[in-house]
Amino acid sequence: MTPDDDLAAAEYALGTLSPAERAVIAARRLREPDLDAAIRGWELRLQPLVEAAPPIEPADDFWPAIQARIRAAAPAAAETAPTPESLIADWRRRASRWRLAAIAASCLAALLAVGLAVRETQRPAGPREYVAILQKDAASPAFEVTVDLDRQEFSVRPVAVAARPGKSYELWIIDPRLGPPRSLGVIDEARRRASLAAYDRTVVEDATYAVTVEPPGGSPDGKPSGPPVFVGKLIPVGP
């Protein structure tokens, strides 16, 4: 670790890095234990400041929303070195829980509908949740892309990815019907959801998803600067 790295760790903890710098440090810390430790050190140094900040009570509806989310999520999912199989299994588990919740919800809806002469509207058939594990080979998952067809949204998160100092990872959707690869944006730690509304459902389902290494902030001309380093296709996991 250089003195510059320590200052980057300090500014990461303080929060003053630019979005591109922050994304680079977030990606590097996953693979550089020294940098990760430096960031943690700075977080601890600054942490006592929190005591001095007066509380602001959150709205009442926050807790039910959090409760619903932790019940939907896999309990205490291991965050260290997951395999593609375990990630997919994990998603299937979550999906089956959603399915149960959906059945419970539709039972309740049916009860409520009794006597109201309300015609139940069926959800369109077919899976609604997809996941793609983008990887170089079967043993090295790098990014997890999840797609919610109802919301026409995707999210992407790094699973275990090698550091590329001074570079950005960019996600692409590739399908013959689209012509050249289309950018879905630069992947930074913060990026969770973005819209897929511009793409047909069938394209979203069939497409290949790929990640390239680009200059900081992404490809300068909207085209991949090099060959994909990680690729994957969606598999259905949801009801």
Binding site: S18, Q47, P75, E79
Partner: protein
């Protein structure tokens, strides 16, 4: 049920060992403990998040995300490495910063509703009760110029970007960056770690 000893230097709230105990139970999947943890800390964590994210919907989502992460990562909490609230607040703060940097730099003029700019400037030097950790940090902050200290505080409490700080203090961005680096280096030497 017995609770562990307080974290070193972290005895600034009576409920601290209680919080550690709750986090331990949360790590075992205890939802009732999680509810109690939320009740005990949500005002504090929301205070951290809401000052950084001006838009209410963004702040709401960031706080909820932070609690989901706390639920998932409770097993990582190590009482030997800082206070339970500090650990939780760091998760919430990082989440808020990620959101703030994802969308656009936070403007200091773009304050959340219901915030009076003056009233909202957190001044740790004015804190009435201080843990050992905060007292030591304040002693080091007092050694900085007033302007440089204000810059650190706006960055920490409001998530101010270098650009926002440059605008606020009428200095070029590279100057702000240099000041930040000097201040942080000085802070580190002062804290002796």
């Amino acid at each position: 049920m017995t609770f562990g000893a307080n974290a070193p230097g972290g005895d600034w709230t009576a409920g601290e060992s209680n919080l550690s105990g709750l986090i331990r139970r949360v790590a075992a999947g205890d939802e009732a403990a999680f509810a109690a943890l939320y009740r005990a800390t949500s005002g504090r964590l929301n205070g951290v998040v809401a000052r950084i994210l001006p838009a209410k919907d963004m702040a709401a989502e960031a706080l909820q995300d932070a609690y989901v992460r706390i639920w998932q990562r409770a097993g990582d909490f190590d009482p030997a490495k800082g206070s339970p609230l500090g650990w939780m607040a760091t998760i919430a703060r990082n989440r808020a910063l990620d959101e703030a940097r994802r969308v656009r730099p936070v403007s200091l003029e773009d304050l959340p509703q219901n915030f009076e700019p003056e009233a909202d400037t957190v001044d740790p030097l004015a804190a009435r009760e201080k843990s050992e950790g905060l007292a030591a940090l304040i002693a080091c902050l007092e050694a900085l110029d007033e302007e440089k200290r204000a810059i650190l505080m706006l960055a920490y409490y409001r998530g101010a970007s270098r650009e926002a700080l440059a605008k606020r203090f009428g200095r070029p961005v590279p100057t702000i960056k240099t000041w930040l680096h000097r201040s942080l280096t000085q802070l580190r030497m002062c804290l002796g770690s």
